[in-house]
Structures are given as structure tokens and as C-alpha cells.
Symmetry: C2
Subunit: 447 residues, 2 copies
């Protein structure tokens, strides 16, 4: 099931036919932004730009798709000829991936002919929504567990194949150590982890036999799952196996717990391992965890060294969507504004300036018109594509990880807590932007 | 980003290497089931079988994938040779798609060599979890609005490309009328709907001009979005346009509201349209809806004819995951059981019998061992694949829609309400199954 140019909403195509017919091919500016913070979030982390650029660069209609559209009887021949020629030749500006951002701040801007900028809307949102959603939650896991190993185990209950892969990417760029999803290493170079499931234990005649067979089969990567029958007894079996394996030069790296009271069991297992002269065996825990469960375990002083985080992260369980949109802000040199109830937008082509306190911590953003006088601080929106071509090669994930690490370290402390911050981060609209909004309201008020 | 054989958890591959090394290639039985009802659900609807069968039939490792695995240094040459030959040659039994089911009932059973049955786990869950999740929520939308047109608008905020497409399918099989996602018609033949976004209105010099241009460009499908600036004034413009279009033989089919108080606005718009001699123009509403919002609007007597349902449905906002698993139940002729705290499974190869009351309504299920005496009622698990080949061609979506319609109509009334039912549906475990569970516990208790 390949992603095709037809992965879009029908209205993009019906609008396009009208735009072409009406000769509406002047330059349009669309911006992608989040209208409000999702529940349980004090900030967001931008992710998914790379996949958007890939999509835009490669977007075209194949002969098979064009013939299918023709057979549908919905479109005229002139329009289908235009679609056959379709190629994106506009500009894209954006915050780099891994940047922290806030509501009402444009994070990506597309400047292109109206049909071009319009057609990409649905898929662009589909890509940016999900990765930004997941990066924003994964960042909270990293913040509560700065010194722990964090592994993404969420493939199986992510919403489909692409979600599984892009979640692995989003998690990694905000500081996860890796994922269980093999294709994520193949496609993105993300380190992968994994050893055995309960079925492996169950299919053997005994748990001890399963442990031993596994150790000889994968001597360099012995992590044993000890909760299939009874966790404490599993740990005891590990201790006795460790002794015999040592003679063969095989080291057990870790045990894994995947059920029960992880605080109580990890403490009990740590004791059993330490008493059995297995201080070097670390404890990996998983099962229904996300930032809340991890924080509670760490606060309680549990001796867990690594966490596996699955379903709750890759569906963003406590807040599974962002109210994000991609809106027309300017057409043919004139600023535009949507006034629908509760969905009013800020018009025009914009820039975001971020100001830092002397200690490096973020202390306020100013949203201006892009052609306003330069604001104080760092301009977050930078050019990434010109005339349909990338300006620079794709950033490495390592580079994005460094940025995101700096960004998270620069967050004001009240935003890094898991609880909703009573004080929101200051995002101010510039005077020039407010004046423009009033002008646009007057101009498009009546007709 | 194509779905490859590498879309799996690393532990599937590490376990497989061990199974091959140990010669553990006897027959295994795995079953897929849901451990408990998700929050806010009284029943589930099974969906995604077709994509699982496609996956299983086509699963193989390409030369490029095998070389990549080799370069990773994790696996030995003998294992990679086995992977090169990999082909699924087992049997699959399942409930047909569109079947209502309950916790602890197996919905799909795989009988194959242990390595074969094991390898498919991660992606099988990934496919069934999402479609079943969405079908189960979409069914609630259909139940609260039996006579309304329901359209899926959720592509952009579904979690990635595949989620968007499979949600359109899951929604359609439980009775939605269609989707906005073009590729869903291309891939699955699902009817598509769509006309214009706010950007279309905004890019014109006036709302009236946008309406008129659209009507002439798409005279057969005139649905006008009237909330960009002021919904009531938008409706008035539609009335005056309708008069002039009538002379040209063009009919306005509907208006669409996408913001504000939909109850108040739909009533106001209905009045404006009726007073303006536009009784035939129907009202299409969207914006933050799912079964709760729709039920409230319908209960309040709103004059809305069709609902567009997006984000909240395609991420299953009120319950974004299912606690579903695929577990080893039997290996080499011996039943197996996982005993992890809170995650105990029922062992053995099972069947589900559903009993109906005289009026046709479901009144209880019995889970038995597959080779028990036949229970009362209908056996829900049927063979679908034998020795790696499908037994029958894929079911049409229309056939699945009919089944799901019958299933939803046969639900006991207390389960069809949106509120959590105080009384859960009776699912009984047979005596034979309980005896087997005890036997397995004794056999695998110690070692």
C-alpha cells in the first residue's frame, strides 16, 4: 500500500480544477501552526520536516493515477493535463526539526502558486501532525528520565505501518536510545534492541531451558525476560544460569520485567541479583509505561536502568491529537484571514523571534511579519527549499538530537514538569501584525 | 516508505534464529484476542483480516533486506538462508470482518510452524489493532445516527498514511457512507466526497464570488462552505445565488458548517434556507465531532442531514488503543499458558459459539476448545487460509457491510448505548477449557 499522490482529500482536487479554470495561479502563502496546546502539554517539539520535503519534492501523478482520475468522471481533460505536469516549484521556510514551539507560532511556511501550495495540504498535515505529536510526548519521557536508557517498543499498537516507523524517528530525535522496530534502523539508522517474547519462554519445556538456549544462541546480547510464570523465581534462575555461563565467557546483560508491580518487583529482583553476585546485570522494565509511570518509578527510587515504552507513547494516549492547521495567510500579495468562530487566524507571512535570558533559558517569543524590522533574539523560521529544491542536504538525526537536547535544556523549568504549568510561555504578536489583522478584517468584512 | 518484511520487532528475528538452531519447528497455535474492553466501549467490531491475509501471503525477505541483515552482523549465515526461503505455509482461522466480539474471545487463530507463526506477530497486531479500534468507534457513530449520511474526514490527523487509508476502510465497513480520502476509492472502491476548504473562499475577493465560481466549475456537485466569515450571512448569499443558478439549471446540493455552535447555527441556516425557498439544500456539519457530539445534536433536534467526522474518530480520541495480543496457546500438541500478573491467558486452540434469543438478538457466547463437542449456536471462527493459501477470494466490502449491519442490529440494546453498560455481555469459558487451564498450570508450574 504505497503512498500515492491520491493520498489527499477530494476537495484539494476539486478546488484545484477551479483554481486552474479561474486562472488563480498567483502566489499564495500558507502556514502550518498549532492553534492551542494539547491537553497535558506545556510545549511542543517540531518533527517531520524531512518527510514533508521528501513528499513535496517527489509529488507527481503517475499515468495509472491520471487514468483512474479520468475514469472517475469527476474532472475535465484540461485539468488532468495540468495534473500530469504537476511539480512543486515553490519555497518552504520552517523551524528546524527538534525546535521547541508554542501555539500560534508558524512552524512551516509554503510560498508557491495557489494550486501548488493548496494541493499539498492534507498530506503535509498528516506527516507533521503525527511526528510532532509523538516528539512532544517522547520529550517528556526524556525530561523525567535524563539518565535512563529509553527504548521505543510501540510498533504493534501504533496506528498502522507508517505511524510505527515515524514514531521510532520522532522518539529518537528527542533523545530516545533506540527502538525495537527493525525497519527503523534500515530506513533511518536508528539503533534497534530486542531479544525475546513470552512465547519463546512458553514454547520451551521450562523457563530455565529457554534462558539457557537463548544465551548460547545470542551470546553477545543476553537479555532474559523473567516474568512469564513468576518473576522472583525467574530472577533466581538467572542467578544460577549466570554462574555456569561465566565459565563459558558469556555475560548476561539484563533481565526484563513486563508485568506486575514494577517498583516492588524491580526491588526484589535487584536484591536477588545482587545477593547472587550478579550486580552487573541491569534491569529493563516495560508494560503500560509512559512519562507518568516512569516518573513515579524513578521518584520511588526503583532500581530500573532502562525503560521500554510502547503503546501509550506511540498513540500519545493522554493527548492523541494536536489542533494543527495549514492556513492561507496571503494571496496575490494581499494578506488573508479566516474568521470562523473559535478558529480565527493571524494573517500574513510571519517570523518568530525567540529571546533567551542570560542563563540561556528561553524567556519569550515574538511573532512578527516576516518583512517587519528584525526582532530581538533568534529568528526561528529559516529557508529550507527554494523553487522546489532543497537548499541543503537532509539534516542527520544526530544533528537534530543535539538541537532538541539543547532546546529541552533551555526550557523554563515550570514548563518541564509533567503537570500543566499555571504560567504559559509568553508568545507576543507584534504591533505590525495586529495592525494588519485589523486591516484585513475591514477589507474582507462585507461583500 | 514501503512496508517491508523488516517492519517487525527485532525480537522476532532473534527468537527465530534460536528456534531454527534448536530445531523448534513443530506446530504452534497462536490466537489474537482483546484482554479487556477499552474505556467507553461495550463491544468491539473485528476488522483488518483482509490486510493480514495479504501480508501473510506476500511475506518474504528481498535480497536487499537479506544483505542489510547480513551487514548488521546480528545473524548467522544459516539463519539468513532460512529467511531467504521464508514463506508462510500455515493455516488461519478467524471471525469474518464485521463480526461483533468481546474480550477473551479469540478472533483469529494461526496454526503454523513455530517460526512462521511467531514472525508474523508484530505486523499482524499492528494491522488488526488499528482497524478494529476504528471500526469499533465508527459503529457507535452509525448506531447513534442510523438515518444520517456519515463521511470520514479524518485523513489529515490520522496517525500517518496507512492509518488514514485503513480508517476509511474500517469506517466504511461498519456503515459510513464514504470518505474524503481519494486513495481510499482508488484502493478499496470506497465512495469519496468533497468540495472546498476555507482557503478557497479566502483566496477569492469575496465569499459570493467564490461560491459562484465553484458552482460553475463543478455544477454537478455544489456543496458550499459557509462559515469562513459569518455563517448566517453565508447562508443568505447561498439563497440569492441559488435563484440565479436555477435559471442555468444548476442546483446547490448542500451547505457545510465547520465551526461554532452547530445546533444553533444549523437551525438558523435551516430557517434562512427555508425562507429563501431552498428547502432542498441540505446541511452538512463537521468540526470536532464524534459519536458524542452527533448524539447530542440529534437529540436536540438539529436539522443536520449529514455529518463529517474527522480527527476524533480516526485516532479514536476517547479510547486510542485496544489491549490486544497474539499469544502462543499450543506448541507441539501441548497447550501453553502465560501466567504473568494480570496477563494470564486461556490455553489451547479455541472456538466461540454465539447464541441468539428468539428475536435474533445475541444473548451469550461460549468459548470452547476447538475440538470440544460442538456448542449451541453459531461457530464464529471459520477457516480462511489453508497451507498458506486463501480458501476463498477476498470478501467484498459490501458483503462485510451487510454482516456488520446485521451484527449491530443484533446487539442487546443495553450495549448499543454510548454510556458504559452496567451489565456486560455474557462470555462463558467451557468446562473443558477450565480443566485444561488447570492441567497446564500443573505441568508448567515448576522446573
Amino acid at each position: 500500500m504505497a503512498v500515492s499522490a491520491l493520498l489527499t482529500d477530494l476537495y484539494q482536487l476539486t478546488m484545484l480544477q477551479s483554481y486552474y479554470e479561474e486562472g488563480m495561479e498567483d502566489t499564495a502563502v500558507f502556514e502550518f501552526f498549532v492553534r492551542r496546546l494539547p491537553e497535558h502539554r506545556n510545549f511542543m517539539v517540531f518533527a517531520g520536516l524531512e518527510q514533508v520535503l521528501e513528499y513535496i519534492e517527489n509529488l507527481h501523478f503517475s499515468q495509472e493515477e491520471l487514468e483512474w482520475l479520468e475514469r472517475s468522471g469527476r474532472f475535465d481533460a484540461g485539468f488532468l493535463d495540468r495534473l500530469e505536469q504537476f511539480q512543486f516549484s515553490g519555497d518552504v521556510h520552517a523551524m528546524p526539526e527538534g525546535t521547541v514551539f508554542f501555539p500560534d507560532e508558524p512552524v512551516l511556511r509554503v510560498t508557491a502558486t495557489l494550486p501548488q501550495a493548496q494541493l499539498i495540504e492534507s498530506r503535509l498535515i498528516n506527516i507533521l501532525h503525527y511526528q510532532t505529536l509523538i516528539a512532544s510526548k517522547a520529550a517528556r519521557c526524556r525530561l523525567v528520565a535524563p539518565d535512563k536508557t529509553l527504548i521505543d517498543l510501540g510498533m504493534r499498537r501504533a496506528h498502522g505501518a507508517e505511524a510505527a516507523l515515524l514514531a521510532a524517528r520522532a522518539n529518537y530525535i528527542v533523545g530516545f536510545d533506540g527502538t525495537a522496530t527493525v525497519q527503523a534502523e534500515h530506513d533511518f539508522g536508528i539503533p534497534i534492541f530486542g531479544t525475546m517474547a513470552h512465547s519463546y519462554i512458553q514454547s520451551h519445556q521450562s523457563e530455565s531451558q529457554a534462558f539457557e538456549k537463548y544465551a548460547y544462541s545470542h551470546p553477545d546480547n543476553v537479555v532474559l525476560l523473567i516474568d512469564t510464570y513468576d518473576t522472583r523465581r525467574g530472577a533466581e534462575k538467572v542467578v544460577s544460569l549466570a554462574k555456569s555461563l561465566r565459565k563459558e565467557g558469556i555475560t548476561i546483560k539484563a533481565v526484563r520485567l513486563d508485568s506486575g508491580d514494577l517498583l516492588e518487583l524491580s526491588a526484589a529482583v535487584r536484591c536477588i541479583l545482587d545477593d547472587g553476585d550478579c550486580r552487573d546485570i541491569s534491569i529493563f522494565a516495560s508494560g503500560g509505561l509512559d512519562e507518568y509511570g516512569i516518573a513515579e518509578l524513578i521518584d520511588s527510587g526503583c532500581p530500573i536502568d532502562a525503560f521500554g515504552i510502547g503503546t501509550r507513547l506511540n498513540i500519545s494516549q493522554d493527548s492523541p491529537s494536536l489542533d494543527c492547521v495549514y492556513k492561507l495567510q496571503e494571496y496575490a500579495g494581499q494578506a488573508r484571514r479566516k474568521k470562523s468562530e473559535g478558529k480565527t487566524t493571524w494573517p500574513g507571512c510571519k517570523q518568530v523571534y525567540r529571546h533567551r535570558a542570560k542563563n540561556g533559558s528561553f524567556n519569550g517569543d515574538l511573532v512578527t511579519l516576516a518583512n517587519d524590522m528584525r526582532g530581538d533574539g533568534e529568528a526561528l523560521i529559516v529557508p529550507v527549499m527554494r523553487k522546489g529544491k532543497r537548499i541543503k542536504p537532509a539534516e542527520t538525526l544526530e544533528r537534530i538530537r543535539e538541537r532538541s537536547s539543547d532546546q529541552l535544556a533551555s526550557l523554563p523549568e515550570h514548563l518541564t514538569a509533567l503537570a500543566d504549568s499555571a504560567k504559559s510561555y509568553p508568545v507576543e504578536m507584534s504591533q505590525g501584525l495586529k495592525v494588519l489583522a485589523e486591516q484585513v478584517d475591514k477589507q474582507f468584512a462585507g461583500d
